[in-house]
């Protein structure tokens, strides 16, 4: 859609080596750092223009942190985030504010993410004021009404407050707020997880319509693999701060390579009793380890059904042909853009 004549790279967003370590402190007065929570430990990802990249993983794997680090809502500890060729991590607050017009976020919780004291119209219209995108009160009002219509709400509802809306309607308000500044890129952080099945489908369809209408690039974060697979072009699977596999939506389902992806896919129930009866399942043992002390070597080895001795050893990983210098399995391309981080594949 853009008429820009600059040579544009295919990728709108490029993330490399992104780390986010949150300090754990002890002591009341003299706070001492005793450990790090390694929420992200070297994340690489690319999102092409107009593409929807799905990001799945279980709670605590770092999906939300990834989204927030990309938008610089958290300053990543290490690594680079390039949006449309511009490095975000070194930008000043002022520069960031102007680029945030092009990057928005939709939050998971439709109850907590809307200010209860502001009317729907003011919530949706606030970004327009902050970014000085309308010149008069009348223009502002028209734009708010337009946005409400776009997300399927009645413009007459603009004076209502969040508590007067249902969960699905609130999520529509959150979507309208994100669209207000005509962004190129939206991080959708579990946008439908809190909604009932029938309402979830309405919001998913709305997001698909808006994506093609406004030519959006999306990072769609969710724990529900069926939803992610429905909406995404490519899917990245995360486990304990690492991306373990990236593939096209069909490829990931038909040919999952990483043992974690395989287990995750087989754990998702399919609403059909005869399909379920015929399915083989891999049930993973144990729980996700703590990100304060992640396992050495491959972080998945404690639950992995095919782990060998090499997987435990960071020294082996550093020199292994499929390892990374950091002592983890490296994310490598196995053809057709299918990437996997496992030395056993």
């Amino acid at each position: 859609m853009t008429t820009d004549t600059r040579i544009q790279s295919e990728n709108l967003l490029e993330v490399s080596g992104m780390k986010m370590h949150f300090p754990v402190t002890a002591g009341m007065i003299f706070k001492k750092k005793i450990a790090d929570i390694k929420a992200l430990d070297g994340v690489d990802m690319q999102i092409k223009r107009g593409e929807t990249l799905g990001l799945v993983g279980e709670s605590g794997c770092g999906k939300t942190t990834t989204g927030r680090c990309i938008l610089q809502l958290y300053k990543p500890t290490e690594g680079s985030v390039k949006f449309d060729g511009q490095e975000l991590t070194t930008m000043s607050t002022k520069e960031l504010r102007s680029i945030r017009k092009r990057m928005q976020i939709i939050f998971q919780d439709p109850y907590g993410s809307l200010n209860p004291r502001m009317s729907a119209g003011n919530i949706i219209g606030e970004p327009l004021i902050i970014h000085k995108m309308t010149n008069s009160k009348a223009e502002w009002r028209d734009r708010v009404a337009e946005l409400l219509t776009i997300v399927g709400l009645n413009p007459a509802m603009s004076d209502r407050f969040p508590h007067e809306f249902s969960g699905g309607q609130r999520q529509r308000i959150g979507i309208a707020r994100a669209l207000a500044v005509n962004p190129d890129f939206i991080v959708c952080d579990e946008p439908v997880s809190a909604l009932d099945v029938s309402i979830q489908a309405q919001v998913i369809n709305l997001m698909e319509d808006l994506r093609s209408q406004f030519d959006l690039t999306l990072l769609f974060i969710a724990h529900d693999l069926s939803v992610v697979r429905h909406i995404s072009d490519r899917i990245a699977v995360m486990y304990l701060g690492h991306i373990v596999e990236v593939a096209e939506r069909l490829e990931l389902y038909e040919n999952p390579l990483h043992p974690y992806t395989q287990a995750l896919l087989s754990a998702v129930p399919i609403p059909d009793p005869s399909v379920e009866a015929a399915r083989e399942r891999t049930v993973l043992q144990g729980d996700v380890p703590s990100p304060i002390r992640p396992p050495e070597g491959c972080v998945f080895h404690t639950r992995c059904p095919i782990a060998i001795d090499d997987c435990h050893q960071p020294e082996v990983m550093r020199t292994h042909e499929f390892g990374s210098p950091e002592g983890f399995p490296g994310l490598r391309d196995v053809g057709n853009g299918h990437q996997v981080a496992c030395i056993r594949v």
Partner: protein, 339 residues
């Protein structure tokens, strides 16, 4: 198979300042010995309140069980006195609640909490109950149970706490285990573990299980029969195969068509159910699904009765018999872009 639990015309209402909420509005179904029954519906459809009513765990006021019968092993649980009811709760009917985080007492060790029903119902001493608790923890797959039995709930992860809840629910060898959204708060790989454990334990002891969930997939994997509830009423019930392959109620059909399936190859547009569930205080007359139903006719102003449309398959819809035909036509129209 014999009938273990027979629920007839159960009505549970809540009296609020805004009006009367008919959370359960005349629901009838049965549970056979040893079977797994799934109860599906969206939030507010009355699935949890219905289960709580079986054990008479409805806070009164504001709630009240207005009528109906809950016949368990030949006895109407709504008529017996509270002491007898206490002998049934946790003993013959076990219950697992939705939130493993809040349904365990944080200041008591797991051993204390697991021993309680055993001491009360089976008259075991604490020492005997504690060693039984260790066995039960092994059954539900908690590693290191000899030492972990003396830990407190906060020392367990969510999945492990829900296993403890299952162990408590099964501890007195109940005839029926009611599991209210047992895996909703858990991650998908942990959900799979917990469901496998529950399934294996119920097969071993012959316990009937009632799984209440909003997840159509969970029910497809484990349930023999399924009840679909909408706005406090039974929309449809039947065998799992009937419900998933031959749905006879537009709501069930809508639910099945609106969930994205992991095994879908084509990226099809989801068929949504338009609108919102009705306000239970201000219910529309006639069929509660009428305002959202694409097949509604004038006849739907009259409440459709739950009737048998095929052997063992019940639907509360006037057009149940023609639903397949109507749905085919509708999908054709959608594909042509007429709707």
């Amino acid at each position: 198979m014999a009938t273990l639990l027979d629920i007839r015309n159960l009505e549970t209402h809540f009296f609020t300042d805004e009006g009367v909420v008919k959370a359960v509005d005349g629901v009838s179904y049965d549970v056979q010995e040893g079977e797994t029954l799934g109860i599906v519906g969206e939030s507010g459809c009355g699935k949890s309140v219905g289960a709580m009513s079986i054990l008479r765990l409805i806070a009164e006021p504001p709630g009240k069980i207005m009528g109906g019968e809950v016949i368990f092993e030949g006895e109407d649980l709504l008529k017996i006195d509270m002491n007898d009811m206490r002998n049934i709760r946790g003993n013959k009917i076990g219950m697992i609640f939705q939130e493993p985080m809040t349904s365990l007492n944080p200041v008591l060790t797991i051993a204390r909490q697991m021993a309680e029903p055993l001491e009360l119902h089976h008259k075991l001493t604490y020492e005997q109950a504690r060693s039984r608790a260790i066995e039960l923890m092994q059954v539900v797959g908690i590693p290191g149970s000899e030492t972990r039995v003396d830990d407190y709930p906060h020392q367990f992860s969510g999945g492990m706490r829900q296993r403890v809840m299952i162990a408590i629910g099964l501890s007195c060898n109940p005839r029926l285990l009611i599991a209210d959204e047992p895996t909703t708060a858990l991650d998908v790989t942990i959900q799979a573990q917990v469901l496998e454990v529950m399934q294996a334990a119920s097969l071993e002891t012959g316990t009937a299980v009632m799984v209440i969930t909003h997840n159509l997939g969970v029910v497809a994997r484990y349930a023999h029969r399924v009840n679909v509830m909408y706005a406090g009423r039974m929309a449809e019930r039947g065998s799992a195969i009937d419900i998933y392959h031959r749905p006879k109620h537009p709501y069930t059909l809508g639910l099945l068509q609106s969930v994205p399936r992991l095994d879908a190859m084509e990226r099809e547009r989801l068929h949504v159910i338009e609108g919102l569930p009705p306000d239970l205080i201000d219910m529309p007359p006639g069929c509660p699904f009428k305002p959202r139903c694409p097949f509604a006719t004038d006849q739907c102003n009259e409440t459709p009765p739950l009737r048998e449309v095929a052997p063992g398959h019940f639907s509360a819809c006037w057009v149940a018999d023609d639903l397949d035909e109507l749905n085919k036509k509708r999908i054709e129209k959608i594909q042509k872009g007429e709707i």
